[in-house]
């Protein structure tokens, strides 16, 4: 591939500079220059320069697959203990939109053991077809066997798009599948669209710690694979009357590769469990001053029956465990209500909670960046405000006659084998 600026045609207008997603174009002395080390030959500058045609891009003949052979939007259904993961339902909603835009079917891959009932559920939530692979070797998630079955199904049926949830399972599985198929994969998407011109999937995801949003395409390879963060898309309505097909694959007599084995599952105590799924999260930061004060966060969370979150600073100070950390190197949450207490709001924290529906920030420093993303701001001392808030919430709860749940700190360990 090569790209060059035709000096006689270039007027130094800088339209190409603004168009380049990678900052690879500079204009000096009224002449555009392209830094080849940064350029990815996407052609955005060429499009921007339509008027002057001063940039020439020569693309190598890339080996492209016959894209017309790839049809259908597919979703990998994540299930645990006989329950479909929320993110799978959210993907069915968005998958349905994409499939309708492309006039292609929406299909689901469901792997496990004795899941017939769930297959029907997936149809009610929008699937046209469910590929159901059952075997006791698929009863729990193991990367090897799941990769084998999924790549087998994809090679046989050639879907156009494959979507997975960006969960622990999805993030471990998707790169293995994409690598075996030698196709492109975009991680942690927060937006999906179909380009009306090329019919490519436009995949949007946060880049550089959430400072930028990148739009990524996979123009010459199929399927186009993307993982999607939980709680980005809405759950579709359940339609009991929807009709779809269930196609069974029997792997009972088929020996699947399994070079890893699940020995035991340890569930977190109710107090820390699943802040990624919680409807309300109360999070504490360094503004609390010391470890003992972290209790007021837990009290408020308990009164709201929500989860406890923390900034990286609070975790590093040892006030609470890493399981509670929200942000770039911790968990991403998207609750209905996020209350940030004594958290300044570094970008690394914001990327983990900025998609919450309502954000409340309580902080002493009126200039704290957390206030830039907050719906409701209280400038004040967390140690003063939070206990008052907790008391008022309790009063409201009593008025509503809703019992305040007591939390169980018991960890449960389910030993499968050893």
């Amino acid at each position: 591939m090569s790209i060059r600026v035709i000096a006689e045609k270039c007027i130094g207008c800088k339209l190409c500079v603004a168009a380049c997603p990678l900052g690879a174009v500079n204009v000096t002395k009224k002449l555009a220059r392209i830094d080849i080390a940064k350029c990815n030959f996407c052609g955005a500058c060429v499009d921007a320069c339509k008027k002057f045609t001063a940039i020439e891009l020569i693309r190598d003949n890339v080996q492209t697959v016959d894209k017309s052979k790839y049809r259908g939007v597919w979703v990998f259904a994540e299930q645990k203990e006989g329950r479909i993961a929320n993110v799978t339902l959210e993907l069915l909603g968005e998958g349905r939109n994409l499939a309708d835009k492309l006039s292609e079917p929406l299909c689901v891959m469901l792997l496990g053991n004795q899941l017939g009932r769930l297959a029907r559920q997936l149809i009610c939530f929008g699937a046209d077809k469910v590929y159901l692979a059952e075997s006791d070797q698929l009863a729990v998630f193991i990367e090897d066997s799941f990769t084998e079955v999924i790549t087998g199904l994809i090679r046989e049926h050639k879907p156009n798009i494959v979507l997975l949830g960006a969960t622990a399972v999805g993030r471990s599985l998707a790169p293995r599948v994409a690598s075996r198929l030698e196709t492109g994969l975009t991680a942690d998407c927060t937006g999906l669209e179909i380009d009306p011109e090329t019919r490519n999937l436009l995949q949007t995801r946060p880049a550089f710690g959430g400072n930028l949003m990148a739009t990524i395409i996979c123009p010459n390879h199929r399927p186009q694979m993307a993982s999607v963060r939980p709680k980005v898309f809405n759950r579709p309505q359940r339609d009991e009357l929807r009709i779809g097909r269930i196609v069974r694959y029997d792997y009972k007599d088929h020996s699947l590769t399994q070079r890893a084995k699940l020995l035991a599952v340890v569930k977190e105590s109710a107090k820390t469990a699943g802040i990624a799924e919680a409807e309300i999260v109360v999070a504490g930061g360094l503004g609390l001053g010391d470890a003992g004060n972290f209790e007021i966060i837990e009290d408020l969370a308990q009164a709201l029956r929500g989860g406890v979150g923390a900034s990286r600073g609070a975790v590093n100070a040892g006030w609470t465990s890493y399981a509670h950390q929200v942000g770039q190197t911790g968990k991403t949450v998207r609750p209905k209500l996020y209350i940030a207490c004594g958290i300044s709001g570094a970008i690394q924290h914001l990327v983990g909670m900025q998609y919450s529906e309502i954000i409340v920030a309580i902080n002493k420093d009126p200039k704290a960046p957390i206030f830039n993303v907050a719906d409701y701001s209280i400038v004040g001392d967390v140690l003063e405000v939070v206990p008052v808030l907790t008391e008022e919430i309790k009063k409201v709860r009593i008025e509503d006659k809703e019992p305040v749940m007591s939390d169980s700190e018991q960890e449960s360990e389910l030993v499968l084998s050893s």
Binding site: E143, R180, A207, R259, A260, A264, V360, F371, Y376
Partner: protein, 261 residues
């Protein structure tokens, strides 16, 4: 136990600046650091070596200045370091990166375990570890926070999930990606610092690892960034006024109106 640890040099993200005109990251003047999760990977490699013997080789791909990052790993106690640097590697997405790393791992030869950080804080994809395992045809476990038991044939690990943790047995040779919480990385020692300064770091080109030129760099990358935009925060922020009691009462009223309480 022979261990290969993959590391990435990343911009010190606390100092990220955006060029408003071009909507791109200003990389000039930004310090580079070793990816924080990779520090845990290096530390875990060193601990396993101290307990079970063997060698720790640190591997990275990037421009020539990445030798600084590798020297940092050597100053912590790694035995060898290899840098993959070639203009042909530029513009690689995670598929091309994992192919390139796999070629290098094969050239390094015998290993029992590959360790990667769970994700790089600049790209945040968490793809390269599992993808590399696939390229090497070995099993992997992501987000490991504890290693319980190690034998020649397998190791027992604890990985993070949404609900808690899982104890998983992994056949060796295998690959793990490690998360914060697995250890507390050490500081460089003077002895190893001197060693590191004297060490030659091998730099391998595409030719050195017999890479297929269609599978590396931009050419080997199926994905392409076509647009970068600055995220918009569309919140109509409202500062609540009055005494603490008034602010709290006001807040509760608003939250009830919004039906979150």
């Amino acid at each position: 136990m022979n261990i290969i640890v993959c590391v990435k040099q990343v911009p010190d993200t606390l100092e990220v600046n955006i060029n408003k005109e071009t909507n791109t990251l200003i990389r000039e003047g930004v310090d580079s650091v070793i990816n924080p999760f990779d520090l845990y990977a290096v530390e875990e490699g060193l601990r396993l070596k101290e307990q079970y013997g063997g060698m720790v080789t640190v591997l990275s791909m990037g421009p020539p200045q990445v030798v600084d990052t590798l020297r940092q790993a050597l100053s912590l106690g790694a035995d060898n370091a290899v840098l993959l640097s070639d203009i042909g590697f530029a513009g690689a997405d995670t598929l091309a990166t994992s192919y390139t790393l796999a070629r290098a791992v094969k050239k390094i030869g015998h290993f029992d375990l590959v360790i990667c950080g769970r994700q790089a804080v600049d790209g945040d994809t968490a793809h390269v570890g599992p993808s590399l395992a696939e390229r090497l045809d070995i099993p992997h476990i992501s987000c490991v926070i504890k290693i319980h038991e190690v034998t020649e044939e397998y190791m027992v690990t604890v990985r993070l999930t949404e609900e808690g943790t899982e104890k998983v047995k992994l056949s060796l040779p295998g690959l793990i990606t490690v998360s914060k919480g697995i250890n507390e990385p050490r500081f460089p020692s003077l002895k190893w610092k001197i060693n590191a300064a004297r060490s030659e770091i091998e730099v391998w080109s595409a030719q050195d690892i017999s890479a297929d030129e269609n599978k590396i760099g931009l050419k080997g990358s199926p994905t392409r960034v076509i647009k970068m935009t600055t995220p918009q925060h569309n919140r109509q922020g409202q500062v609540l006024e009055g005494s603490t009691q008034e602010q709290v009462t006001d807040l509760i009223t608003k939250l009830r109106q919004a039906e979150v309480l």
